[in-house]
Symmetry: C2
Subunit: 355 residues, 2 copies
């Protein structure tokens, strides 16, 4: 790791630890993606998973938003579904429809079809992309690695794609709890290894995306999601205590105190959470990340500035990583993303100096 | 109204007022629908909106679940999108895809296309269906009328159908707030008239469905959803004080205290809300309705019973209307719906007598 260029901007890493920063760090979920013309140009030639699997292209796409905006983090361009792939399931990305598993897990019998991947070879392309990107970043900002959370990956592996209710996956939680726990445990083992390898390859912080946490009741989250998130955070704390850990459980408003009690350092919030209330619930146990409604970027730049100022006031200057409450939309205007980044950096700079 | 048969089961109306009941009343959102073979048989011959528009068929479908299960309420079979239809927009129901507006509102200019409906003639079929059903119910249980909330209807009218993000509709909230308020006000006027007419036609309680409230941040809900919900509740309180008013703002976990302060008598909860916490937040200001995760009905009947008992314990015996946290799914087993109803009625009966 000592061969990587020195980090010149550690705002995000310090904010993640709850340390004072001269301004609030900012990045955007899906900051590399279809809203950028340079991304669409590159994707005109290559299929989604081809970009993901080609370290040179993945690094290029990862850096695209940093060439445009003075972002305080890069997040490696990849997909949470590379894990189900290396566990033995086929995943296709269908244009305009999202991910599709032609042969998902249909019954507990199908657990036998899953294999234990060799992370270094099977997911070597992600690791190479991280190392390459870390070099190319040249210390401009820290590099974020990521995975999908066990419940979210399980949901896709059983449902076979996106869904309003994820009924098939939930049938396992309610009707086949032992098989569900077996699957979640197996996924968790892979995620611990994969995150560890991402850190060794160059990730300076990692985020776990529990995109479908909002489909669970508090009791079901407690039983089927939280224990595995806990295991991941604990494993990383034991093995890479220097690397901050971020969790983003979208829609899991009910789980904030429980997540604050885990070994995650940062809790991502979606835009339905009131930042002041979140701060009261979490206290000094964790930093917070988020949470502007991405749809705010449809407003004019002046209105984006106003909304960002309100958000920054609500979170306060310490232990906050500014972000959207979910990813950029494909039809967002890049100049409105710029307004978001500039509003955070301009306002929080003044704000930190008076506080 | 004096010509209707006397009501023999007023459990729901009393629970809605926070009065003591000998057991907890129970009904299910989408209790009339595709999970029932008798519904699918009827729908094999008639298109969705044909059933809605034919009082005889709508009444028949409304009563189907009450012929099977000892439910404590009937809800008129209709659709929230009949209101955009009578305001001048075409709405089609596309099999397997849901509602589709071939010509949605594309810009504030399009507001001119909207007309002020004559409720009694344009929506006479809903009113007739209510009167017919109320007679056929013969006092077995109260009859619920309903509408979609202003924000939810606006979302469909601009988006033109279902959507993950409702980006187009949210663009109005963030970028065209005056047009948004004009549209919301116009919808609200129609809803007040329509609910009033439903009550005059036989509805004994009414529910407002804000199905897409969960897409809004607390501040945006406060600005664009709550004032119009407030107006509806206030109008009904002024004009029909004897009729309990239910609001179900799905996903609006952040709005519970605000909704409790409106003139709604009952607040519906989705399954992500902890009933004890909801009770603490709402106090005696409103009764609560909900909130078993519909996916629980994929479990075996014994497990459904256990989950229902936990839910009833959490809500307590007073001021609770048992329901799912959202609608029945088309692939649910009717016998599991029966297990839900029986579990509520059996357990709450014993429970009320000891408390």
């Amino acid at each position: 790791m000592s061969t990587f260029p020195p980090l010149k901007n550690n705002l995000l890493l310090r904010a993640a630890r709850g340390l004072h920063t001269e301004r609030t760090p900012v990045w955007m979920m899906r900051q590399a993606g279809r809203y950028l013309p340079e991304y669409r140009a590159l994707r005109a030639e290559d299929a989604f998973f081809d970009v993901v699997r080609t370290p040179e292209l993945a690094a290029e796409v990862t850096l695209q938003p940093l060439e445009r905006f003075p972002l305080d983090a890069a997040i490696i361009f990849s997909d949470i579904l590379v894990v189900p792939q290396v566990m033995g399931l086929t995943v296709e990305m269908i244009k305009g429809k999202g991910p599709h598993f032609p042969d998902p897990l249909r019954s507990p019998q199908d657990l036998k079809r899953l294999r234990t991947p060799d992370i270094k070879s099977d997911l070597g392309y992600v690791l190479e992309a991280l190392t390459l990107t870390r070099h190319r970043l040249d210390g401009r900002a820290p590099l974020i690695g990521f995975v999908g959370a066990p419940w979210t990956l399980m949901a896709y592996m059983i449902e076979g794609g996106g869904s309003k209710t994820f009924s098939k996956a939930k049938t396992w939680l309610f009707g086949l709890p032992e098989a569900a726990h077996a699957l979640l445990g197996q996924i968790t083992d892979v995620l611990c290894q994969f995150l560890s390898a991402q850190i060794e390859a160059g990730a300076q912080t990692v985020q776990v995306f529990d995109s479908w946490a909002g489909l669970l009741s508090p009791a079901v989250f407690q039983a089927f999601a939280l224990p595995y998130l806990n295991r991941i955070a604990f494993y990383l704390q034991e093995n890479h205590p220097e690397v901050p850990r971020i969790v983003f459980a979208k829609g899991a408003h009910y789980a904030l105190p429980a997540l604050a009690a885990t070994d995650f350092d940062v809790i991502g919030l979606d835009w339905t959470m009131d930042p002041r209330k979140a701060r009261r619930l979490v206290g000094a146990q964790a930093a917070l990340q988020g949470n502007l409604d991405p749809s705010t970027l449809y407003a004019a730049p002046e209105q984006i500035h106003d909304a960002v100022h309100e958000m920054l006031d609500a979170f306060g200057p310490v232990g906050h990583i500014a972000n959207l409450g979910h990813g950029m939309h494909p039809d967002h205007d890049p100049e409105h993303a710029r307004a978001f980044v500039e509003a955070v950096q301009g306002y929080s700079h003044a704000f930190a100096s008076v506080s």
